[in-house]
Symmetry: C2
Subunit: 259 residues, 2 copies
């Protein structure tokens, strides 16, 4: 398959990398030519920075830009690729954002967290596809299956729920780690001491219902510890952490009292 990638960020990089193993990445487009070049070099693609340079003899165009830029990108590129299949890769953007501008619209959403520094295990990464017409759906299904064992046809509304859940499971849990690191850093205690706990907690949640796996002072309703922790955070003038501590503890307490 001949593929063009729009964007040069983390998702674009990881997609270009895995797609170039079995397919041909023809062009990489970024408003900043340098960024496109950095990526294009690695995957033997052509770097471009002008929509008029987009080649139309490709099977698929993947928009891998920030969610808020998708609407303006489709406006820009549609005139040059009116008959091509164009997909976005966003969990939180409705198919209609493309479809109202471009008929052959689709979605190719990998449910994973992408960092430049880390490799992705594509085989186990769930891929969610959606297309405005059936033929394109079939084409995306084939492409997805060439990358991952876990491919799903999902509607936009299902995908949006999943993405919202991912914010809780991934972005917010990472912020919990970040807050934990700030607490130990302030006492010159090594954050790596918490690694076994972090990994065990995540493993538990993927093998049992996390509600059943809840532990800690809030779950036990231990007001002495809850008050002590609240005081520790207030005394060290970390009102931001104290606010999170109060809200999450109160909710955990309620959820486990009523169970």
């Amino acid at each position: 398959m001949r593929i063009t990638i729009i964007g040069a960020g983390r998702v674009a990089y990881h997609l270009a990398r895995v797609l170039s193993e079995q397919h041909e990445v023809v062009q990489i487009y970024s408003r900043t030519l340098e960024k496109a070049q950095q990526l294009a070099e690695q995957f033997k693609a052509q770097a471009i920075a002008q929509p008029k340079e987009l080649l139309s003899d490709v099977d698929l165009v993947i928009i891998a830009v920030s969610d808020q830029s998708i609407a303006s990108v489709i406006e820009q590129i549609h005139p040059y690729l009116p008959h091509n299949l164009i997909v976005h890769t966003s969990g939180s953007t409705h198919l209609d954002v493309l479809k109202k501008v471009h008929a052959r619209a689709g979605v190719f959403y990998p449910l994973q967290t992408f960092s430049l520094e880390r490799d992705i295990d594509w085989q186990t990464t769930p891929l969610f596809i959606e297309a405005a017409n059936e033929q394109d759906q079939t084409l995306l299904l084939e492409l997805a299956k060439s990358l991952s064992k876990r491919v799903y046809n999902y509607s936009s509304s299902q995908r949006l729920s999943l993405h919202l859940a991912a914010v809780f499971a991934c972005n917010f849990s990472n912020y919990c780690y970040d807050m934990a690191k700030q607490v130990v850093d302030a006492e010159n205690v090594d954050f790596s001491l918490l690694y076994p706990l972090i990994l065990e907690t995540a493993n538990k949640a993927t093998q049992n219902d996390p509600r059943q796996m809840q532990t800690g002072p809030a779950m036990r309703g231990d007001q002495n510890i809850l008050n002590m922790h609240q005081q520790m955070l207030e005394q060290s003038q970390r009102n931001d952490l104290a606010e999170v501590y109060a809200l999450l503890s109160q909710q955990i307490l309620q959820r486990h009292q009523s169970s």
Copy 2:
């Protein structure tokens, strides 16, 4: 070493299990005799429910009860074991809680999350010890080293900070998983789709600074997505989740704007 365990909950179970491999668990004490019996059977110990039955010819007594019960337990057992080394296993309880009643006081704190259903990898579990006198410190150090490769002498205040951080890293991250499951359950979407994301997020945090690993709409300052998510939660009448979403997003936004 001859060891008595006070308590019959999760921590008592896991301690009895690993200690009985190299040491002798002599007695298990619980106010509920049945609970003590259930544990004692498995580890060839004697089950007791009365403090006066406690044998004094043991090397160590481990109080593994809920934090809020430690103070009353030491009052109860001290008269029968006035010269024995007695430790608690709590991250959030000061050594003084034992010491003001009992001279040979200590702490033996495993930093891990314990469930009855899951085995613990003791070799990699950090153990934190503290004792009122040097001889007991040495004894606890030896015992700890027989279980784990990661043993630390920590003061009560260091241990309290670590435990507070553990609430953020473990209890609160688990609650994030729990909230994520509630979001997908409401749409009949399979929670297991989030497993790769959960595991990758935890792995990342143990290999890099979690602040640098933050992703998601709040980190990118994407107000459109933030507003959409807020609306989705409010429309499904999940004001509890909406409140967490608003607070954590606002803090992530601030932390990454100022960086």
